[in-house]
Symmetry: C2
Amino acid sequence: MKNIERNVYLSNVEVEEALHTFLEKVMGINKEDSLEDIEVINSLGRITGKAVFAKYSSPNYNAAAMDGIAIEARKTYGATEAHPIKLKLNEDFIYIDTGDPIVHPYNAVIMIEDVININKETIQIISAAAPWQHIRPIGEDIVANEMIIPSHHQIRPIDIGALLSGGITSIKVFKKPKVAIIPTGTEIIEPGQKMEVGSIIESNSRVFEGLVYELGGQPNRYLPIPDDYDLLKAKLLEAVMENDIVIINAGSSAGREDYTSSLIKELGEVLIHGIATKPGKPTILGIIKDKPVIGIPGYPVSGFFVFETFVQPLINSFLGQKEERVKEVEAIIAKRIVSSLQYKEFVRIKLGKVGDRLIATPLSRGAGVTMSLVRADGTLVIPQNSEGVEAGEKVKIKLLKDMEQIENTLVSIGSHDLIMDIISNRMQKSYDKHFLSSAHVGSMGGIMALKRGETHIAPIHLLDTNTGEYNISYAKRYLPNEKLALIKGVKRIQGFMVPKGNPKDIKDFKDLTRKDIIFVNRQRGAGTRILVDYQLEKFGINGDEIVGYDREMTTHMAVAAAITSGTADVGVGVYSAAKAMDLDFIPIGEEHYDFLILVEYLENELTNAFLEVIRFQDFKEELLTMGGYGVEGIGDIIYIE
Amino acid sequence: MKNIERNVYLSNVEVEEALHTFLEKVMGINKEDSLEDIEVINSLGRITGKAVFAKYSSPNYNAAAMDGIAIEARKTYGATEAHPIKLKLNEDFIYIDTGDPIVHPYNAVIMIEDVININKETIQIISAAAPWQHIRPIGEDIVANEMIIPSHHQIRPIDIGALLSGGITSIKVFKKPKVAIIPTGTEIIEPGQKMEVGSIIESNSRVFEGLVYELGGQPNRYLPIPDDYDLLKAKLLEAVMENDIVIINAGSSAGREDYTSSLIKELGEVLIHGIATKPGKPTILGIIKDKPVIGIPGYPVSGFFVFETFVQPLINSFLGQKEERVKEVEAIIAKRIVSSLQYKEFVRIKLGKVGDRLIATPLSRGAGVTMSLVRADGTLVIPQNSEGVEAGEKVKIKLLKDMEQIENTLVSIGSHDLIMDIISNRMQKSYDKHFLSSAHVGSMGGIMALKRGETHIAPIHLLDTNTGEYNISYAKRYLPNEKLALIKGVKRIQGFMVPKGNPKDIKDFKDLTRKDIIFVNRQRGAGTRILVDYQLEKFGINGDEIVGYDREMTTHMAVAAAITSGTADVGVGVYSAAKAMDLDFIPIGEEHYDFLILVEYLENELTNAFLEVIRFQDFKEELLTMGGYGVEGIGDIIYIE
């Protein structure tokens, strides 16, 4: 292994400045001809490099526009119902079909419906024809030499039709830029290869492939290269020769395995290393042998934004396209976001139309959380010189999804259960295609979101420790001024989740204080946490006595995952999570997981779609098959007075 | 040739009823499994047939989120600048990079930037680490068994990343329906084949290919079949065997060559023949061997709407997709449209944002005018029971283009000149990408459109027959209350256009009255028409004396095309049109082709883009190379007081 210096300190160049420097440099390079000839029939989606002018007129002769007879108009003058005019075949008229040429001396067409047959040779008409009626004159559609489509136009199916009709068989389009994508890293494995601790499935290059393809470029993915300077150097040189743009993924941070920057410096020029953006800081922009080379950091979310910020404009400029202005909407931010003055930050946002307000809820800001992009409806860009935004502030959101889909989404904020995934899937699958967006902030978080008008429904399972009853008393206490209803959900079994075979022999809450046992907890406000604290109090146990009491997870599945991975011995959660992660389950008790809603949203189309799904027999059967749920009364509505 | 009965009378089934009957019948047929397994890396754009749940967590181990050192948090407690703590390599800490697994007993990461090197074995830290800091816990991104994407979801690049990260390598998606496209007709030729009178270049099948492809189906185009019953029958049977959906193009009207309906009847069942829609009436919906077969009429515009109305919902239903609601906007219709009570009519519309009003101008309603679809921004649907709409009425327009592009379009209504194509092309090509929509209704039509607030600019060339001057007196007379300006355009030479060599020896207007000469005129209100009438008056000639005086064309090119095709001997037009159609040109005089505009639109971004193009030296040189234009003063602004 060659000894490469650790680049602890990167520069912090402002994003627009970096892009400008880079594009100016790249576009200044003399490139070979950027246009190519292609056949019109293969041109769908390509971008014209020159305006296209018709070769022929269409139609290129005077053509019958109807099925019927061709006549000389003057021979029909004076025809009426009272005084029909008789005409002789081949003498006064001929039969023609739509599209047939109109030849001298004929100059009008009468529709077959208006022709009265007398005999094989003779017909009769009862109204006069105007000259040129029902004739498509030459050039009616396209006149030779007229412009069919301009330059810099993306070819649609209908354009292909017009081009062919105008006699054009090949056109000049912008060449698709070839984009090399080189995944690097000794720890990465290809999809389907055996997973081991420390191995990461290589997926970024596949995302880039898709993005390049969608932009109209030609992706060219190379096999992953381990962190070996000489191998990487050889591959990089190969890629630069074979492509117009080169992306190297990972290896761009300041870590030990950071060869990319040294390599680009050796083979060409590093323009910028380190950009004032979050995520995406350790980006490298360089040039090798007149080809742009971009070092993209390894985290999936970083990769996505760096691609969008630097690679997309590059591909667009190769295709003679300017950046599309992204659609923006105004929304109210649901949660305070603190951001650094040092970076321009990209925050993934879930949008929901609740009442007539569009609510923006920030998703996970972790650079490694691909799912935050999968779930995102839009992006909030926090400028470099801003400290963030306050809850309730109006912000501009760049849309990643269609507004129609967003408006067709039932917003759920509250406690998590696996059934929310199943309901979401069933809503989307149904003919009317509604969507369910489900944010997991615990039961109390859900009630607070309902109070602030940020959600349609709040899934909760809150035990009243005085009465032992669920949910209703909390609704009354925290939302005393609202007209509320409770949509009955499921009864679900809570219990201890432990590794298969229960190796540490955990029986009840007293075992949690044992020194050989590491617990993993849920966050404050979660229904499960209230249950845990209620039980601990009953047993007279203090949280301090339990190792891991302060490690808080936000979902049942995350708790189960911690146990599966061996970083904890036990946690409390629902049966479905234990089953999904192949853990043993020791029941503690049954709880009510219901949906709190404002009465005014009960009549909503979205709520109806939700109710239809949960009341459907097939859904109940799916839950019973999964186990751990009671479905009696699901979908019943209790009005809270 | 088999003798097929002429189907003069078709049925007139209401569109929604026809679609409902057809879809119900087709969807009622037992189909083989509609899902298939495909590799995730090849799944871009496909539609999931089932929800996809993660196989592995991501990360699937606790991973370092930063480059730095892994330590036990408790060993750092109490560290401050005043009281740094020293740590030994391999005893207290190890070096790790982003992504490395965190192994027992380590439970926190300190960033490399916060590590002070003492010697090779020893480091020093000056602040304590919190347990689990800078560690990505197992499942931070994806938890095993969580739903990554729901059913009926179209795969985006980012979904591919999430699926691979969740350990998924293949997924179930809806099969692409195979759609046979069979062009028929003895008169059609393939693109590039020799054009003769009566031959039509086959282009519809290529449009359908593109539309099928864009909808996610698999187009399967067959070679064109001449109008031969047995050939067509054999091909139809082959297509039904090999595909899920079959389109037969043309041969569906009531003409002599109408085999399609007889064929479908012989091989299967005709459900409907004749639909209450315009264009598109002679559509056939049938079933052969459990496969849907659609007979689509031959006119390009009919074909497009019939495809959209019947084939698109069929493909969507095969893919488990419901119809996307098309975006609609409200606009003011510029021109009265009379429609029949018998049909649902689809009218192609050009939209323009003039001031704060969105103006809808109907394009050619001819079923054969492909260019009306190429140019259209949207569609106006006139219901079956409506007689049409009045000018000034508010209508809903279904958008075919992005609203942003429409708002970025300078609207020009008035006289036609080839330079409008060139300006349009140059505006679109420029970095800022503005668009020019140019409707040709003659000079007076342009002034009226300006008066009604339907256009930004009106290109005019109106001769004041009292003063011999151009344009300004008309502006004052017809728009006395508006603040107007004239953007100076070109001086252009008008003249007689005659076939090469001037075979009929035409010298001046007196020749037009000769009996051996057929004239072709421009429409009333056109500047050229005013010039013609002015000259005729000077020569004391009446229009009645001229053969063809009443045949009115709306553009110079259409006049030139009529002469090229031999249906007229002479017409009046500009040099560029004569040159483009390879005609001889006998100059009559020079005229001023200028752009009339309201002063309030002069400061407009769109007007600026327009001015920039016409004032550009390169543009002037292009015009001079073309010939027939004077460019002195182009782009100058004359305020009309």
